[in-house]
């Protein structure tokens, strides 16, 4: 696996760059607090909305706080929400998807209809509804976004499982008298892993977008704790005086999501057996 990743990154510069960017983002998410050159919460009324300077490399925000420091510590809540949401969505979605494809018709009907109904709603609307009435914070955002992406995962797991159950080796397992646990563990899970991995990367990207969208609207991460989406939302009010205030977090956020999408595309290309067999 490592070898394949290495050879991939050599032949695909975009892929290598994405990996590097994501590595940096994860690193900053973990160590951002120590990396920040200044106190990200320190208000300085005398240095409001300034451009780049020796003291503040990327300038300051509307309260005179150091932008670079705030950008660095703003990664962690976003990443926590994204990864937490993906874990929740991945676990329950996979469970529901397999159950929907590989259980009694009545049960699978109920599961998949439920999934369809959930899917018939744009996630951001339900998220709005939830955060509107709930205490907003990293934990609740992760749970809300995770729950909202369960149906997406369930869909993918469901159709992948359906594809697997049509294969002859499933018949073979049944013919040998294999138990349900064995069929799921040996025959289904290893064979649906590839689409699930791809879906997981997509969900991380979607969760980041959703969290930053909510924060942008002022309904996500609560100030003074910064997040990139929230900073873009605030910076919008100062676009004409201090355009770089909006551009820095926008650039970082877009690069991060772009890297995840590039990674997801490459993963899909390498993991998709139809493409691999050529």
């Amino acid at each position: 696996m490592t070898g394949r990743l290495l050879s991939l990154s050599r032949s695909q510069p975009a892929f290598a760059a994405s990996l590097a960017i994501l590595g940096a983002v994860v690193f900053v998410a973990i160590f951002g607090t120590w990396l920040a050159p200044q106190n990200p919460y320190a208000i300085n009324p005398s240095a409001v909305n300034q451009g780049s300077s020796a003291a503040h490399w990327l300038g300051t925000d509307e309260f005179g706080r150091d932008l670079l420091s705030r950008l660095l510590i703003g990664v962690r809540p976003t990443m926590l929400v994204a990864i937490g949401a993906t874990v929740i969505a991945g676990f329950f979605g996979t469970l529901l998807g397999i159950a929907g494809a590989y259980s009694r018709p009545a049960l699978s009907f109920i599961i998949m209809r439920g999934v369809d109904i959930m899917l018939s709603f744009p996630p951001i609307l339900l998220a709005l509804l939830a955060v509107g009435f709930w205490e907003s914070g990293v934990f609740s955002l992760a749970v809300v976004i995770g729950v909202l992406y369960i149906p997406h995962f369930a869909r993918v797991a469901h159709s992948a499982t359906l594809q697997v159950t049509r294969q002859e080796f499933m018949e073979a397992e049944h013919a040998m008298g294999a138990s349900v646990q064995r069929v799921v563990r040996v025959a289904i899970l290893p064979n649906i892993l590839s689409p699930l991995v791809v879906q997981a990367t997509l969900t991380v990207a979607a969760a980041i977008l959703l969290e930053s969208g909510l924060s942008f609207l002022g309904l996500g991460i609560v100030p003074p704790e910064p997040s990139w989406g929230q900073m873009i939302g605030t910076a919008r009010g100062y676009l004409s005086q201090h355009p770089m205030y909006a551009i820095w977090p926008s650039l970082l956020l877009a690069l991060t999501v772009l890297s995840i999408n590039v990674l997801g595309d490459r993963l899909r290309d390498t993991l998709d057996p139809r493409l691999r067999e050529e």
């Binding site: 002859e168 018949e171 008298g177 025959a187």
Partner: protein, 567 residues
């Protein structure tokens, strides 16, 4: 009129050009049918695509000429090539349904083909299309004009393709496996049609197939390809009576064929020098001590009594469901250590039957007596001991093995499921099974995709034998394999039958294979057994009209060889 000179085709790979067709030369004369025969990977289809200039993007002609009436197609510009295609050289493909555009009616597509090469009005083209459909003997041509491809059967679609191919009176028709996707009886009709059109229209036909029987039936001359090279070119009668090339000899020998029963089929081997030869392996002897004379057991091992299974199907997405009697009162019995061959065309219910016996589905009514006990209505729990006794080998060696498991895990799966022995004992047992099916022990650590189709089927057989079952159901177990590989697997099955005291239910659409391996035979049509009895009797004197129809439809390479065999 079509002359191929030193044609070489290679695949572009990361490591450079990888030759796939080497220096192939042959000629087709006006009005003749040339059969191009070879096993999968022999380069026969690539050759035909190269002729038409339709190679996939990763393949390239490296050398040679394709002369059509003196014009070299390889050197033609795309526009010139287009004029020749369809008008001068037409092509028929393997999968007729997929070769038609799904969103246009068949009539529109034929009209389109006509208008591409003829300057006539739309109404005239429609009339011509209708006439063509009549010519290819499609039932109800007017309806067919209005029908979309998915509304027709595979055989009908192939007729539409043929009508389209002959629409502009081409000089040459290239038919790439035109009957492989079709049933035997339909295959015969399509071949008859091709031969008739060949006589009537006067077009030369290049018939590409893996099936020597088809070649024998219709081709005037044969070219044999193997591993990208042309092995031999000869007139059909000469090739079958007196093959010159070693590979051709071996290929012809390894085909089981009607009217010629052999204990072992010769298989193709390559010796150290890389030369191909045909070897007739000796039957394996029973291990010492196992040589007890087998008493004829009067009780059948498996007996079906009036077994029925129906499905509710909707003929269209909107129509009311109707019952489809897939298995409609089937009764037969198999004596221990014998083989029952179950023959039938696709859709006759033979797979439903095998699934019902394996209790992968629940039969509606009737009895399945295994060693005298009815298993038709047992619960999954009560069925469990019987799953040790009945094993199954599936049709598709690519689909029946979980790609994410090693061969050791795959073969050891039944042992793991029934918790037999310690892990160490299990892996020892797996190695013994690998020996039994003739695979190297090193195979245990590998994954299925590292093996060829025939080797995979050996893995599947080894898995079936892991718990020493008494009944093995082989559902089209050799149908997906090339002739020479098929011979190896058939030999293996016969050897194992003696070695492991096995009883086979051998399901196949291929009469010659069934004749080769079976002691008794049951012929199935539309969910019913129309005829059953000892193999010799059925093949010598078929009683039922459908059996006769099936027998007639099988290309009879055998007759020629039977004479040779007896002589």
């Amino acid at each position: 009129m079509l002359e191929i000179r030193n044609l070489s085709i290679a695949f572009k790979t990361a490591a450079g050009l990888k030759p796939a067709v080497r220096d192939v030369s042959f000629t087709i004369r006006p009005g003749e049918i040339l059969g191009l025969v070879g096993e999968s990977g022999s380069g026969k289809t690539l050759t035909s695509l190269g002729v038409m200039g339709l190679l996939p993007p990763n393949a390239v002609v490296t050398r040679g000429e394709v002369l059509v009436d003196g014009v070299d197609l390889i050197k033609c510009t795309p526009a010139e090539l287009r004029r020749l295609r369809g008008g001068h050289v037409a092509m028929i493909f393997q999968d007729p349904m997929a070769s038609l555009d799904p969103i246009f009616t068949c009539g529109d597509q034929i009209v389109e083909a006509i208008l591409l090469h003829e300057r006539i009005g739309k109404a005239a083209a429609r009339r011509k299309a209708l006439a063509l459909l009549e010519k290819v003997h499609i039932p109800d041509p007017a309806r067919c004009m209005r029908a979309f491809p998915h509304e027709l059967s595979g055989g009908q679609c192939q007729r539409v393709m043929i009508a389209m191919a002959v629409s502009c009176k081409p000089r040459i028709i290239i038919a790439d496996e035109p009957t492989t996707a079709l049933d035997v009886t339909v295959q015969k009709q399509v071949l008859d049609l091709l031969r008739g059109l060949n006589a009537e229209v006067g077009a030369a036909i290049l018939l590409i197939t893996h099936d020597l029987g088809v070649i024998y039936e219709v081709a005037d001359r044969v070219a044999v390809m193997y591993a990208g090279e042309l092995m031999e070119e000869a007139a059909t009668p000469d090739l079958f009576t007196n093959p010159q090339n070693d590979y051709t000899k071996a290929l012809i020998d390894s085909m089981p064929s009607l009217g010629l029963r052999q204990e072992r089929l010769p298989v193709i081997e390559r010796d150290a020098a890389g030369n191909v030869r045909s070897v007739r392996p000796q039957p394996r002897t029973r291990p010492a001590g196992g040589d007890v004379p087998v008493a004829v057991d009067p009780h059948p091992l498996l007996e079906l009594k009036d077994l029925r299974k129906s499905y509710w199907v909707k003929p269209t997405p909107l129509a009311a469901a109707v019952a489809m009697h897939a298995v409609d009162g089937v009764s037969f019995s198999i004596a221990p250590r014998t083989t029952l061959g179950l023959v039938g065309e696709s859709g006759c219910g033979k797979t439903t039957l095998s699934r019902a016996i394996m209790r992968l589905s629940n039969p509606d009514s009737g009895q399945i007596l295994f060693k005298g006990q009815d298993i038709a209505r047992l619960s999954e729990r009560a069925m469990r001991p019987f799953r040790r006794e009945i094993a199954m080998v599936f049709q598709n060696p690519y689909g029946s093995l979980n790609p994410r498991q090693t061969v050791a895990d795959l073969i050891g799966a039944p042992l793991a499921i029934f918790e037999e022995g310690t892990p160490a004992e299990r892996s020892k047992h797996v190695l013994q099974l690998l020996d039994a099916v003739g695979l190297p022990r090193a195979a245990a650590a590998k994954y299925p995709h590292e093996f060829s189709g025939g080797q995979r089927q050996r893995i599947a057989v080894a898995r079936a034998l892991a718990l020493k079952p008494s009944l093995v159901i082989c559902d089209e177990a050799v149908s997906a394999l090339d002739v020479s590989v098929q011979a190896q697997v058939l030999n293996l099955l016969k050897d194992l039958q003696v070695e492991f005291d096995l009883t086979y239910l051998f399901i196949s659409h291929d009469l010659s294979v069934v004749e080769h391996i079976s002691d008794t035979i049951a012929v199935m049509q539309k969910g019913r057994i129309v005829e059953a009895g000892p193999a010799e009797a059925i093949f010598a004197a078929p009683q039922h009209a459908y059996t006769r129809l099936l027998l007639d439809a099988v290309p009879t390479v055998g007759a020629e060889r039977a004479r040779r065999g007896r002589a």
